[in-house]
Every structure is written in structure tokens, then in C-alpha cells.
Point group: C2
Chain length 279, copies 2
DNA sequence: CGCGTGATTGATAGGCATCAACACGAGTGG
DNA sequence: CCACTCGTGTTGATGCCTATCAATCACGCG
């Protein structure tokens, strides 16, 4: 499916297409959805049954390009990807980083072509679904449908906070905020090792995310290190350690509520379980 | 329902609660949805039938505050509202302006409390729906449900472009981009008068939208006037006229694709009409 | 071992914020 | 009816934050 990269490279990591075991449908998705509502085994099985392909892509592979028509809906099973927009003059703005358990191209259900680009940052494994099978969830598994809508709502909350960062935070705050957010998201997924986490991002990627230049991102991160808030390693893999969580959160003006891991509102649940059939 | 305003006032206009005719359920919504898919009379009637309240609010009224629990889902029938987030230090970032035909608080279907605030900018009229009735659309009218999902996807596209503005456009470009976008959106709604449109926004609101100060917004707009791109009136009402559309779009780096008024992808339509019952 | 990529640091310039003052109209109360 | 105030638009002066340009370092890879 994917084609070679564009101008600026976006990848990081070995780029080796491994012969690894490909775990189909990461349990991270179900773990995430379970927070929102009870997902029955039957529903899980149904989702598994409509996976029509899966695979592994090397770092730096385009998954969708803007203007291109969507072909399918994807679930990221492992690895990092990034969603971004490119302006006419070539400047790039990253919308969000895509972590394991995140769905990609859900818009394919209601729009025929993409506004944005998605590229893999590391090697990734993914599962693929047909658009019509996902749309079919509306009728076959309303509860799953609601859960997926919840995912998009949660992503929008993250996007809103991102907007606040770029619009109303200083450079230092923006970088700090991004670091805390990534750490928290990975932590929720069980992918953080205490106060340490893998962060396979170049400073240029971070810059394009928070609306700065890579040079300035570097200065901010060095300054955080000097302040004793974080430490960074680059080899063999890029890792970040938050040595002073409170300090970093304070510097960032971080308030984690927007990552809400909250369950389905009662009214909504009742509305879906009243005529309960399969659900 | 609403409570008095917070610190900074966000409203504009007379604030008079008129005794006007309240047109229930603006046709602008259906006109919008019709672009996406054919909406049957039965579906329209159903939507009308689940409207359980409507009313008028003066300018500067809070519709929802962050942290507050959602009570209902709203449709803006007329007037302007604004959705924004406030940081701890009081700085404000506007996420988007809400125009007639837009739905508010759709998140209530999947989340119990709000991340953001919504306040009326002018006097508005609105319709109110129960959360459970909207959730019920999943089972009763899948096509309507898809159409509503399309609305949120379209809003997200606008939000993405907004992110690009703040992250990767100059002050001049940001303001120009916002003006073109508002004009286009109003035009689509039939609320623009040729190259002229009502824009009941203070420069401070514009500033909080594009991540600048009101002083700098002023300079940018004056500069656009000097360049012959726009003209502004303030009394009796605030109106803006784009005297050089091409020039302004070029200055903004505007590419209208993200406002997509595109129809439902074939695959999705088939998936929903195959077992066609009501739809 | 040379090359490319990314991190790092310094010097300089510029865009936008900040502070301040004034203009102007609308509403308000004496 | 007029001072008074408040909100908003407008403009100038000043300074800081961040971009830009440039050079160096470190490492992995062919």
C-alpha cells in the first residue's frame, strides 16, 4: 500500500522490516475501550473477525497522503506514527502522535479523501479493516460504535489541548506539556517504565508538533535538563526520563483531565441497552 | 440553564432577549446534512419530534462551562457562539466559532462532563435535545447518525486547519485566513451578502482565536485595509467586506478543501442501505 | 573513512507582546 | 441634557522571545 517518503523524512529507528511475530489486534485497544464501557467477548470476536489484513511497515512509510482517497481503516498495534498537515510553502504542522491502540483514518467512514498525511515514525504493525465493516458496526454493534465515537472525542480533547499549547503557551511550556502528555499516554497504555519512556522523536518532529524550530526545542530541552526536570538518552534508543514530575507538570501548566479516562454517561448507556439485543 | 458570565466578557451586541419568532430547528442543519447524504422527510420529522425545548439567549450567556456535566445537546438556530478553553493563568484560546446550523455538546453522548466552555457571542436561538434521544439515533436512524458523525469530522478538519494557522502561519496570514474561512462558512450557509458579511467579533475575540494580542490583530487588519484587501464597518453592526478575495486568500495561504462539502463515500452508503429498513 | 543525520551552541535579526495613551460611541445617572 | 464611565478600536515606543543563519560535534552506516 504505502509509497516512499516525501521531502522531509519523518521516520526514526532502524527501518528494518522484521520477521517478528505480528500480534493481531493489540489488546491495548480493548483495554482502552473497556474504560468507556463493557465490551463483550462477542464484540471483541466480531472486531477480530472483520480484520481483513495486517502487516508491518518500516519507519518512514506513508500510510495516507492528503488528497488521496482512503482505502481502509487502520489500527496501530505497535510503534509510533504521526499525523500532520503540510502548507503550500512546505512548513509542516503535526496534529498528533499516534500510539499503539489508536485507530487511524476513521474519517474514511464519512469522507472519501484525506486532509492530512500519516507517516510511520518507527517500524509499526497494524491491522486493517474495510470501511463498510466499520460502518456496519452502527447496526450490528451500536455499543462498539459508541465506543469508537468516544475514541474520536477523546482525540479531539487532546487536539484542543494541543491548540491551547500552540496558541497560549510559551516555548518552554509547550515542550514540557508535550513531554508530560506523551509520558501519561504511554503510562496509561502500560508502555512507560516508571518515570522513563521511549520517545523515538527527533527534535524536529517535536518542533513541528509544538510550532517551534528544532533549534529552539533543543534549547528548551537542554534548559529543562539543566533545571533537573528531565534527562535524555539518545543511544541506543531515544528515551526520556522525567526526573521531577511535579516540577515538569507545573512548568507545563499541565492538567491531565483532558485525557479523560471516563466511562460512558449513564443516559447514553441506558439508551443503548434498553432494547438490548446483542449488547 | 445558563449562569452569568465569567471574568472577561465574551459577548457582543445588544443583549436584548427579544420576543422574536423562534424558528424551531433551523433548516440550515438539514441543508448542510443534505450535502452528505439524502435525508428523508421521515428522518427530518424524527429530529423535529425529539426536540424537547428551544429558546433564546442574550449575548454573553454561558451555555456550558468546563468541568460542568453536560445536560443536553444543542443546535444553534441563529446567532454566533464561541467555544474556548481557559488556562490556569487566565489566558484564553478559542477553539472555534459556532455558526447557525452547528451542533453543540455532541460530546455529551460519550462523555459526562465538558472540557471546554461555550458562550454566546450575540443573541442566539437554539433547540435542545436529550442525550438519550440522540444516542438513540444509532439504532433508529443510522443514516442520521452517520450524518452527525460527518459533522464532527468536518469540524475536526476545521480545527486542524486552525492548528496549522496558529502553529505555522504568521500573524498576518492567521487573521487573513480566519476572515476568509468565516466568510466562506457564512456563504455556504447563505448568510453572506456577496463579499460582505456580519462579523460580530471584537478584535480581542479574534486575537484569542488566532493566538495573538488584540493590539496586533488591530495592526494586521489595518494593514489589510491599507492593502485594499478588506474594509470594515463597526456601527451600527460590525461588518466586514472582502474587497479583494483573491488577494486575501493568497495572503492567507487559503485552500478551501478542508471545508469539504463532499458526499458520503459509496462504500459507507452501501453498508447502511443494504439492509435498508427505514433508511 | 567519508558522509549524512541529528544534537548542540553562539550571534544576530525580526516579529509580536507589552505598556501606554488617546479616540470614539453607547449607555448611565445626576 | 450633560458629565462620566466603560468597552473597543487605534497608534506609538520599547523590549523580549523565538527564528534564522552558521558552525561544530557525535554517531551510525555504506
Amino acid at each position: 500500500m504505502p509509497k516512499p517518503t516525501i521531502g522531509k523524512r519523518l521516520h526514526r529507528g532502524s527501518g528494518v522490516v522484521g520477521t517478528d511475530r505480528i500480534p493481531a489486534l493489540t489488546p491495548l485497544l480493548f483495554r482502552k475501550l473497556a474504560v468507556f464501557a463493557h465490551i463483550s467477548d462477542e464484540q471483541i470476536q466480531h472486531l477480530r473477525s472483520i480484520e481483513y489484513a495486517h502487516g508491518v511497515l518500516p519507519a518512514g512509510t506513508d500510510i495516507i497522503r492528503h488528497g488521496q482517497t482512503y482505502k481502509s481503516i487502520l489500527l496501530l498495534n505497535s510503534g509510533w506514527a504521526v499525523r500532520y498537515l503540510v502548507r503550500g510553502n512546505g512548513r509542516r504542522q503535526i496534529a498528533n502522535f499516534i500510539l499503539p491502540g489508536d485507530l487511524m483514518c476513521l474519517n474514511a467512514t464519512v469522507m472519501s479523501h484525506s486532509d492530512y498525511d500519516i507517516t510511520t515514525v518507527t517500524q509499526v504493525s497494524y491491522s486493517e479493516f474495510r470501511v463498510e465493516d466499520i460502518v456496519g458496526l452502527i447496526e450490528r454493534h451500536p455499543m462498539l460504535c459508541a465506543a469508537i465515537f468516544w475514541c474520536t472525542a477523546r482525540e479531539e480533547s487532546i487536539l484542543l489541548e494541543h491548540l491551547v499549547s500552540i496558541g497560549r503557551r510559551t516555548a518552554y511550556e509547550r515542550v514540557a506539556h508535550l513531554l508530560v502528555e506523551l509520558w501519561r499516554r504511554l503510562q496509561i497504555l502500560g508502555l512507560a517504565d516508571g518515570d522513563t519512556f521511549d520517545m523515538p522523536l527527533t527534535q524536529e518532529l517535536i518542533a513541528d508538533c509544538v510550532g517551534l524550530t528544532s533549534v529552539h526545542v533543543n534549547r528548551m530541552m537542554r534548559s529543562m535538563q539543566a533545571a533537573g526536570l528531565i534527562t535524555c538518552e539518545y543511544r541506543p534508543v531515544q528515551r526520556c526520563r522525567i526526573t521531577d514530575v511535579r516540577g515538569l507538570e507545573e512548568a507545563a501548566g499541565f492538567e491531565g483531565g483532558y485525557l479523560h479516562f471516563t466511562e460512558m454517561p449513564r443516559k447514553a448507556r441506558q439508551a443503548l441497552t434498553r432494547h438490548a439485543s446483542v449488547d
